[in-house]
Symmetry: C2
Subunit: 315 residues, 2 copies
């Protein structure tokens, strides 16, 4: 009976087969996410550019991050340079603030620590101009979400990322949804570089939008960042250095032999299957969720990621 | 320099004192949450009724939950009965699903497990009618949030809880914001009892609103539920029983000697200070967050909880 006492029922259809009395309800149920995804076409999935994929190896496993160079090009380039210089190897997760962010970088972010290390990496830059927003022109792909938003005039998806835009200002930006990876900085807007990054692990802190640069999002391994003990110091800093989580290595996928890369694919956010998934979130109903929500919030929509079968990946 | 490389700066003002060049910016800064709270009046805080406060003792610490009997009276009464029968003692956290919920209860939720145990507790009920919504009349206190909402016609706060209402149907309900405690159930809407509960640990799953009963919210110890390893099974169930987190005991505050109760106070959601905090979220700006959000989402608003000095509590 365990599987039936559930809050959510991603596997509802199969579970329901044991309940003949509910067959009528089941007949009225809308397709599940799993069923919708099972019918997706291969062309609806994209393989992220290995130049934009970062592998962060933690003791517990690997986190995969996709950079968003069309939104934050200077940061993407600098993060690549830092990664290629093995800047992050041996650094740590220094801060986990509940319902907010997990942040990593050099615990000694001063002249004795990261600043001198960055300086030694040739082309790497210690600070960058803020890339909080970009001009809507030149145009990027845009899939509008018509459900409305508390914070922005328009929201939707661009190149796989949840985003917002303001036609009045002509600007668009990536939003701080769960899993977004942002650029930590000092008070000075010009003080970020990508040498310290954070991932959103709670309710979307949309107040950060346009005040910090979003450099990408976590594709895989999110729970390795969200399921960590929270730090006891203000803002979630760990009290003792020993509590920090070591970063074993960070590598660019392009620098890893293809056979050692996970064959990740991301559902295109301009695909019919993605639209069907959003509609299932909005209007889906089944025996468990009898009342459809009617609308869906931008940050409540997952962009599906899958790993191709290893056999296929090794061709 | 560590404290200055931050994503958020709750303590921004004091931090900024080290930056004379930013004094002008600081002068324009709006009050911080800390500053607003420091000016609150004692009467703006309430002490939750000990009949509505639940202490859940985990190996890592204590979780305090406030029940919401005006929204889910049958569940509040049944949870009290279960707690007083020590029903939860020795049960466990059985499921942690990333960006969704942490759920606890009896791993054996069948006739050999919880059902027979509940039956042995006299007045405790195994199932209850769903209490997903309540009629707006009789009227409860309501503090409207005018910023809009993707899911509901109206949102706001009632008796300390984030809530939504629909004048057309005459119904109101507690929303699934971070920290909300809901009633797990089987497919049958009449199958919940409060013997298995969940807490929201990610982006507010508002789709659950009106499909599940919200029985209260976590006042203290939220990070003990959110900072747990995610279960590897579908829906976050732990693979091995040994991975579950044991519940040492669950007690009603009213049954605990006053000297052993934490002196928790919750800011009244109909108080001027709470309104000022919301406005600071909406329009606040400082040297770090130069661009105010302009609006604030219901589930991005924390209802402050504080613990009075132990000396005062021991009078």
């Amino acid at each position: 009976m365990l599987r039936r006492t559930l809050v959510a029922m991603l596997t509802l259809t199969s579970t329901l087969l044991a309940f003949p009395a509910l067959a009528a309800e089941q007949a009225k149920a809308t397709p599940t996410a799993k069923e919708i995804l099972a019918k997706s076409a291969p062309a609806e999935w994209r393989t992220p550019d290995p130049q934009n994929l970062i592998y962060m190896q933690l003791p517990q496993g690997r986190v995969v991050i996709e950079l968003a160079p069309d939104f934050t090009p200077l940061h993407a380039a600098n993060i690549r340079t830092l990664v290629r210089g093995h800047y992050f190897d041996g650094l740590a997760i220094i801060r986990v603030q509940d319902n907010f962010v997990t942040q990593w970088g050099d615990p000694n972010d001063d002249e004795t620590g990261d600043k001198s290390k960055i300086r030694s990496l040739g082309k790497a830059r210690k600070t960058l101009p803020p890339e909080y927003t970009r001009s809507i022109a030149p145009k990027l792909p845009w899939t509008a979400l018509p459900d409305g938003d508390v914070y922005a005039p328009e929201v939707g998806f661009s190149e796989g990322f949840p985003a917002a835009r303001d036609p009045a200002s002509g600007q668009e930006w990536l939003t701080h949804c769960y899993g977004a990876v942002g650029v930590a900085r000092d008070v000075d807007p010009q003080s970020g570089s990508g040498s310290s990054l954070y991932a959103v692990i709670g309710q979307a802190p949309r107040r950060l939008d346009r005040n910090l640069a979003v450099a990408g999002r976590v594709l895989e391994g999110m729970s390795l960042l969200s399921g960590l003990p929270r730090g006891a110091e203000p803002m979630g800093f760990y009290t003792k250095p020993a509590q920090r989580i070591a970063i074993e290595s960070v590598r660019l996928a392009a620098d890893v032999p293809p056979k050692n890369r996970p064959a990740l694919e991301v559902l295109r956010t301009d695909s019919p299957t993605f639209a069907a998934l959003i509609d299932a979130k909005r209007h889906g109903r089944n025996a468990f969720y009898a009342l459809p929500a009617g609308k869906v919030d931008l940050c409540s929509i997952d962009v599906p990621v899958r790993e191709r079968e290893p056999a296929a990946a090794k061709h």
